[in-house]
Amino acid sequence: MVQRMLKTVVGVALAGAFGGMAIAQDSKVADELAKYREALADGNPADLLEVKGESLWSEKRGPKNASLEQCDLGLGPGKLEGAYASLPKYFKDTNKVMDVESRLVHCMVTLQGFTPAEATRQWYSKPGKESDIEALVTFIGAKSNGMKINVPATHPEEAKMAKMGEYIFYRRSGPQDFSCSICHGQEGKRIRLQELGNLTTQQGAGFAMKTWPSYRVSQGAVWTMQRRLIDCMRQARWPEPNYLADSIIALETYLQKNATGTVMETPGIKR
């Protein structure tokens, strides 16, 4: 269904870009790409990481020899169902708006006794070096599968972050004078063969946000939303923000707010 919709979107975009002649050929390209993506969807290697994350969640670890089972991701201690779909949100205990990753690190520090540096040292995997955070986020994300993204950002602190995220989204910066919105602020844009979502609409933002965390075939690893957005900055030739930076959480809040109401389908798989 989504694939079909995508094909239509691509088809329309191409018609606009190249005129009628190219439609037949390019819709065949879109069909074959859809076939490729479908073939990957059954048997997503992210499922392997989800299993690992599940055992990491309940394993007693760290200086305090404690599990993460009492971690409060916003819906109460240990309550995971739907937690990912309603983050980022404001947390009273830290007086901050936190996303899934900053909250998870908070729990690793407060419950398990890791230092922030220890908890975030391997925040993403490299060949041969696995990342606990990737596994845990994959597991936590999957617990929101089938649930609606719900980040209305009604708390004043959340509203502030969403506003800041929107500002960053439109702000042109860096040596190329680039902004997120140049590629992701209109319908019908493509980079090479891939359609680019319009993240300013519920449909576009929803399509993008619902599948994260996602297995990146090109990297052979699950990417979290932090990694996705930090790498967007790098690709736009901006200075890369630190892991868990407020600027990234602000962007996430803005995008999740736009995507609110979309049903989660995670872990996803992408090229």
Partner: protein, 103 residues
Amino acid sequence: MGNPMKIRAANKDGVTEVKVLVSHEMETGQRKDAAGAIVPAWFITELVAKHGDKTVLSCEFGPSVSKNPYLAFKFKGGAKGEKVTVSWKDNKGDSRTDEATIG
């Protein structure tokens, strides 16, 4: 040792379909690391699937099988509740066995 595999086995109309996802780097031996040194080849060479004691598939892989190998195949027979086991070994001598129940 490696991480657990994910094995799905489902019987329909007397035929059991097995889908296996294996956690493995499958290094080709052609990639260079950040320092420019060749990353040694490290890949699964053999994989065997069994239904009870009977081998239902044996595979040989080269390094061009994708990272986290995926495999799907079908065999006649197999009943709900019976076991399918999958074993692999790699070129470094590591190995692993996991099992799943036919659903």
